[in-house]
Symmetry: D2
Amino acid sequence: MSEVADLPTNWGRWGEHDERGTLNLITAEVRAQAVAEARTGRTVSISRPMPTSPIAAGPFAHPGADSIGAMQAVLFTGASPRGTAELIMMVPHHPEVTHLDSLVHQVVDGQVYPGIAFEEVVTPAGYRHGSTAVFADGILTRGVLVDLAADGPLPEGHGVTGADLEKACARAGVEMRSGDALVLRGGWNYAASRDRRIPGLTLDAVTWMHQHDVAIYAGDIGDGRPPVDPRVPGPLHRVALARLGMPLIDVADPTELAAACAEEGRSTFLFVAAPPRLGTASGVPVNPLAIF
Amino acid sequence: MSEVADLPTNWGRWGEHDERGTLNLITAEVRAQAVAEARTGRTVSISRPMPTSPIAAGPFAHPGADSIGAMQAVLFTGASPRGTAELIMMVPHHPEVTHLDSLVHQVVDGQVYPGIAFEEVVTPAGYRHGSTAVFADGILTRGVLVDLAADGPLPEGHGVTGADLEKACARAGVEMRSGDALVLRGGWNYAASRDRRIPGLTLDAVTWMHQHDVAIYAGDIGDGRPPVDPRVPGPLHRVALARLGMPLIDVADPTELAAACAEEGRSTFLFVAAPPRLGTASGVPVNPLAIF
Amino acid sequence: MSEVADLPTNWGRWGEHDERGTLNLITAEVRAQAVAEARTGRTVSISRPMPTSPIAAGPFAHPGADSIGAMQAVLFTGASPRGTAELIMMVPHHPEVTHLDSLVHQVVDGQVYPGIAFEEVVTPAGYRHGSTAVFADGILTRGVLVDLAADGPLPEGHGVTGADLEKACARAGVEMRSGDALVLRGGWNYAASRDRRIPGLTLDAVTWMHQHDVAIYAGDIGDGRPPVDPRVPGPLHRVALARLGMPLIDVADPTELAAACAEEGRSTFLFVAAPPRLGTASGVPVNPLAIF
Amino acid sequence: MSEVADLPTNWGRWGEHDERGTLNLITAEVRAQAVAEARTGRTVSISRPMPTSPIAAGPFAHPGADSIGAMQAVLFTGASPRGTAELIMMVPHHPEVTHLDSLVHQVVDGQVYPGIAFEEVVTPAGYRHGSTAVFADGILTRGVLVDLAADGPLPEGHGVTGADLEKACARAGVEMRSGDALVLRGGWNYAASRDRRIPGLTLDAVTWMHQHDVAIYAGDIGDGRPPVDPRVPGPLHRVALARLGMPLIDVADPTELAAACAEEGRSTFLFVAAPPRLGTASGVPVNPLAIF
């Protein structure tokens, strides 16, 4: 991407060793306004269910399920079972798992946000910088649904622009504010669309998010496959995550959220993400909630 | 426990096939009152951090870490790494992992809540009833900190009674209401106390929770080890979970919460638990949040 | 199977705590005669290849392979890879994996060979008796191919009898001797035949093996699915393994062996099985060799 | 190592796409002579036992075992167990696991034997070239014990030379022949010696093996830690494996073999290695046998 000048960046904005990135935008004022969005306590999940498969099913189970994001083995707990317990195996960064990317997930030019050499942060057992440790207290802010699929799924291969985002906000009568969680609905199911040209964000859309100081992104689309603009492949991961320091929730599912927003007559809500405190990874499964 | 007559029970209270148990107590009214607790948007985690260990670290890492609740392998993602990804393995029901028990976790007399034969619900790949699937939209209610460790950790081997809970509530000036999340602090670190007599709840305390229609329990203590009352071993798992249908958050850590409550001058808050949507297990790691 | 009187048994034949079962039949004389079978040093594998699948393939690999017996994750070994390493996961008792059953694998009437209560031998981490530990020095004896598929695969659902085995031996001009490894070819691929009635051994065949003091069994068929005789389901596992103490090599593949025997003009060979020294399991993947 | 001229190499000796390396030296004549070594059928394992640990032991087991090479979970097989089965996880290239390295294990200058670009052979799911697939029919050849520890373990940090090997052969009255398996005993337990300067082979010893056309190496020592000669670190992996194409059996244990050789009055035997047919890895656990 060396030919693309002036990529938006937050490297240095919050210091040379920053690990929070755009989460720094979630100020006390943003938080207070966010909780004011919660009135009835209705909760809506923005996560896909995470299907599990038996682990290499073995002689006592029906085998054959596809390799999927999480696998499970039911453990022996006594010749007369005293209870139940399982071993869970998962690859959080899986196209069927709703997961939260930490800032170490994307390497650009041998560096991770905000410009630290990858060799210095990676070990076979985890990461010294930019890991999921930063999500310890969860993420709470105002959420805004930006619905590009109100009239049906985005066209195949569509490159989402800043203008697309602007138009959807206007249509919903909402304005993006600094520190917001942007929840994007493109109407696509990533896992079920492997053979199609999945729409994705352009650099222009990422620049728009930067201008509006979005704190966190969640969507059912993200970077297109194949890239919607071959000159800037993967702008969400390679620019928003790696240069802006914006945590991403990949493979979200805002289908129910869109229905709930229609029922509630608003596009904003209290957004809460509280993934397990797995503190050494580059991704963690998450069930982000919209609270009305 | 056949000699103990009149164990409290909710079997049948919400039907013969119910999977929500005491979560049924979280009504629309309870939810509305719960979100009213959120004013500043300050969040506090009630989870222990989940340490990870390299998986059988291999030739390129320092080996030797103890076997712990979650293990992690950093995966190859390219000869020049394109990004980072990991395989995570975990046993949610581990004494170092803050986790949410679903109702299928405990078998009593060959049955699980609300009286279904264990053989009918278990498969090598997961459970047909009472699994973590019921937590899909998260759990939101009012949380109440019941702090038994305000003057220091509970004595070794102490059996917590209903009177203990009552007294702590009175001291904090709070009354337990139907549908509340009870967050108990005993001042113990389960994982670090294997060689000691860990305090735990008595049947009397479980009966008190039943009388107050507690919806969910989270604590740094739970069932004592060894049992605090040998006549009724494991009342939290064998009575509250299995007979009342009360989901349990085991191995919670309310240390920071107690400090935050002191600072905020109140013992109540918005309680939100949003574990990954792992829908076939008897337990799932969780990071419950207190929102002020 | 209580109605079946007089099941053949070796319980007590080699003591109450024996862990070797019919491997006791491999005497010094048997060994000496076995190595005399090795003349040219030609080796033929009696194992199926063990396919591996990526572990929950993740974002950087093509997903979608069926759940199979062994899974593999290529590990990170440096930002510029210093070498290669993998994590392997497997369920040895899988219908696509050639594996060696130890004597603790089959429980009958709550007991394992030679009559020890299952509760006494099992732990969540392995077995105290009858595990794969007994295979530490490998298994070496004379091997005999008994080819029931010389004229094509056995008919669907066929129940193999002692007379079938006798006839095949006569045809090949070979006599089964005490301590031999019996390698049976039925011409079936277990993993590819899930929807068909897979042929299997009858109790009569197991009795024949007992009369001839076979030390170990390997075959591409074993216990039929569904049982070839509903009155005695699973005679190979429930009688040969559990009562005779005969280790079984399940899911073998003697296809190449049959061709080699034809070329070599004989049905006997040096049989060597040397599985990894995994000493606490009830099964271990193995690549048994025929050496001519 | 660019300053070291004239490293011994077999790149090109058996073609540009060869995957067998020095196994090509095991000719029909070598095989025939090898089986002539087997007279009594006595077998001796050259493998360490592979300890297993419970996988993150969970609530029903005693936790705390160190992270080791192989982990095991006992699986649920029925509310009244029908049998036993386990999930096994292992990292074959582990300093406590006797394992067989395939030729893709070592990358030098971005290439693997015999000069193929690493990027072309590696995938997240395994390797396209130089994997363990080549071991399908096992390895059979004459084995020679070269005992450097007859008078006690090698001194700490000792660099084994060709002269050391020559002297030990002369002392045992044996001559290394083309195609032999060299089994080296240094008297060290790698896993128990992490804090000490483990002796290892020098480039001179590797050159000696090349001159004698050794087909495969197995030893309780290998490359020293730290390197015995900093100018040529890791000659066994970086020269013998990567340039000569010699499969290595790391972490072998010839202790029992040395005793058996003394009893039998000879240092040669039939060497058989038959690891599971795991066909996509860079290493596989193995139990190599010496057959007398």
